[in-house]
């Protein structure tokens, strides 16, 4: 058990390192680009083209001609030291921006995930134990429909219906809980639907298994069988889907935060990309990737706690 946690942590760190290398490479791949962008931001404006002498001057002044490896290590070191450079767009330290924009994203994604998990599990179990009834068909149709809808369109439609036509929720913004309602649904609907579907399939598979018949033979009341035996066994495949859902949730937050003017990391990333603020982009991406890897790490450990039979390959 402890050995598994150790192995898995090692894997997490390894993947994190490779991800950071990959991100850094992609962002800084075009030679001269960082200097060019900086030059444009500082002196010219994004639309203008920068003369080569200016680029060289900027590169010299800001030490951008150093070997990439050196710049990479400085960046990584920055995570531990707390200095990730200054954002070109905002002229503020990146760490300060991240600290500012991270909490709203956490609020949004955590609440959306909670909503998706709780609703998804309940609907999945309900649909499975009432297989082939009206409720089951309704749930199945709604979920496959939800899974096919693009999250940004759900957001737009929710705004159209509830903010513009009905007027019960605000259109966009951040402040009191009522601003959270629409973004939460828009973000969480897709995940809720996939969790429902996989929980339903998993429950149906589990209920067929011989140990379920034996539990009935033991004379256990149906409710106890459902909760202690069926749900626990059915939960395993769902955990993996929850991990993957979180990934699409994080990715979706980029769009949803932009649509609802929610001041989170996703919106920050979008603005950084539009402005080609490379310094901000690389750190933001790595933070998002880190969150994704952490969630999957926790899920893997949880999986192993529930079912120690699985050996990590």
């Amino acid at each position: 058990m402890h050995q598994y946690i150790l192995k898995r942590t090692g894997y997490l760190i390894l993947t994190l390192i490779f991800s950071s290398i990959f991100t850094f490479t992609v962002i800084n791949a075009i030679p001269g680009e960082p200097a060019e962008v900086l030059a444009k931001h500082l002196f010219l404006g994004l639309e203008e083209s920068a003369p080569p002498e200016l680029i060289e001057e900027v590169a010299f002044r800001y030490d951008l001609n150093r070997p990439l490896l050196e710049q990479y290590f400085e960046w990584i070191q920055g995570f531990f030291v707390g200095d990730l450079g200054n954002s070109i767009l905002y002229h503020k330290p990146v760490t300060r921006l991240l600290a500012l924009y991270l909490p709203p994203t956490l609020i949004l994604t955590c609440s959306a995930m909670t909503f998706a998990i709780i609703t998804g599990l309940i609907l999945g179990v309900l649909s499975a134990i009432r297989q082939n009834t009206l409720i089951d068909h309704l749930v199945r149709f709604l979920t496959i429909f939800c899974v096919s809808m693009p999250a940004f369109w759900v957001a737009v439609m929710l705004v159209l219906i509830f903010s513009l036509w009905l007027g019960i929720t605000p259109v966009a913004g951040y402040g009191s809980p009522k601003y959270l309602i629409l973004p939460l649904f828009a973000l969480g609907l897709h995940s809720m639907a996939s969790i429902t579907r996989i929980m339903r399939t998993s429950m149906l598979d589990t209920m067929e298994k011989p140990f379920m018949t034996f539990s009935k033979a033991k004379g256990l009341p149906w409710r106890k069988i459902l909760i202690s035996h069926a749900c626990k066994n059915a939960l395993l495949p769902v955990l993996t889907v929850i991990g993957m859902s979180f990934g699409s949730l994080l990715a979706g937050s980029v769009v949803i935060e932009t649509v609802f003017a929610w001041p989170g990391i996703g919106a920050l990333l979008m603005k950084a990309i539009s402005a080609r603020d490379l310094v901000l982009i690389e750190s933001t991406i790595l933070v998002i990737v880190f969150m994704f890897l952490m969630v999957n790490f926790v899920i893997d450990i949880l999986y192993h706690v529930i079912d120690p039979r699985i050996n990590y390959e």
């Binding site: 390894l14 096919s148 999250a151 940004f152 159209l160």
Partner: protein, 298 residues
């Protein structure tokens, strides 16, 4: 042509499908038959877009902007007076074209790399597996955004970038399948007989385990269409001149109140096409997997 050849061709054409399990399962599933026919219709529609609508999707008419449905414009016009119906039809072409090409290419690349890795084993497999994991460690939109930054916009770039995002899931799936098939008796006896590796893989192993990957590919066409529309909604990737459902919704946003069709219709189209592929994918899985219930997605 001699009579024998003639008869042989006719016999060859009238292949008996009855011996296949999937044929019987498909016969039971009316809903799947409808879905598969719909997909064919959708593909045909996307090819014939120019024929279906007389209107040019790009001709602007600023005086007739943001109109509702009329005889001239079946679904109304957008903020530049362009015909919505025409744009939606051309958008189908764009989406299906990019998604289809992406899935095709990433399928070939992913399956090749994944099966190679699985079959060869050893340190090569370990390396490639780690690379696959690396690509899968990034949520797809984030990876897409980062790559788009690098490559710039344009349809070709978009296809390349989506392929890079997509290949890893195919590779991982096929690798897992190949790894378990590798130790089956028929493979061991083929190797003992001295057959070359590539022959064993392509002629024996792959046909046995390709089906789940095809199922994944079908469902991923829908997923890719979602990604494409999300990216174009954000203003990334597709040049604004080309009609694409996501960017249409984006440009319709400021006029949502007066011309809601511009945001409702494209989104509905995205949903319906993705729905078709999702149901088709799950249906394929039901008919080809002998262990699965044949009960349907709805």
């Amino acid at each position: 042509m001699s009579e024998t050849v003639h008869i042989a061709i006719l016999r060859g054409l009238s292949i008996s499908w009855e011996k296949y399990d999937w044929y019987h399962r498909l016969k039971e599933r009316r809903d799947l038959q409808i879905v598969f026919v719909c997909i064919i219709i959708v593909f045909v529609l996307s090819l014939c877009a120019p024929l279906l609508t007389g209107q040019n999707p790009n001709s602007q008419d600023l005086r007739g902007k943001n109109q509702g449905p009329s005889l001239d414009h079946l679904l109304g016009t957008d903020y530049l007076g362009r015909d919505l119906f025409a744009r939606v039809m051309y958008g189908l072409q764009t989406s299906l074209g990019i998604a289809g090409t992406t899935i095709l290419i990433s399928f070939v690349i992913g399956v090749s790399i994944g099966s190679l890795s699985g079959y060869l084993g050893g340190w090569v497999d370990n390396c490639i597996a780690r690379i696959i994991d690396l690509f899968l460690a990034f949520p797809s939109i984030i990876l897409a955004l980062a790559l788009m930054l690098l490559m710039g916009s344009g349809i070709l770039n978009m296809i390349m970038m989506l392929t890079i995002v997509q290949w890893a899931s195919f590779a991982r799936l096929i690798r897992g399948q190949v790894l378990s098939e590798k130790n089956q008796d028929y493979v061991l006896s083929s190797r003992a007989a001295g057959l070359p590796g590539w022959w064993i893989v392509t002629k024996h192993i792959l046909p046995n385990c390709i089906m789940p990957v095809i199922v994944l590919a079908t469902m991923d066409i829908g997923h890719t269409i979602l990604t494409i529309s999300t990216l174009s909604f954000l203003g990334i990737g597709i040049p604004p001149a080309i009609p694409e459902w996501g960017s249409m919704i984006n440009s319709g946003l400021p006029y949502m109140r007066i011309a809601p069709f511009n945001v409702i219709i494209p989104g509905l189209m995205i949903t319906c096409v993705t729905l078709l592929f999702n149901i088709a994918g799950e249906g394929l899985r039901d008919i080809t997997n002998p262990l699965a219930d044949n009960e349907g997605s709805l």
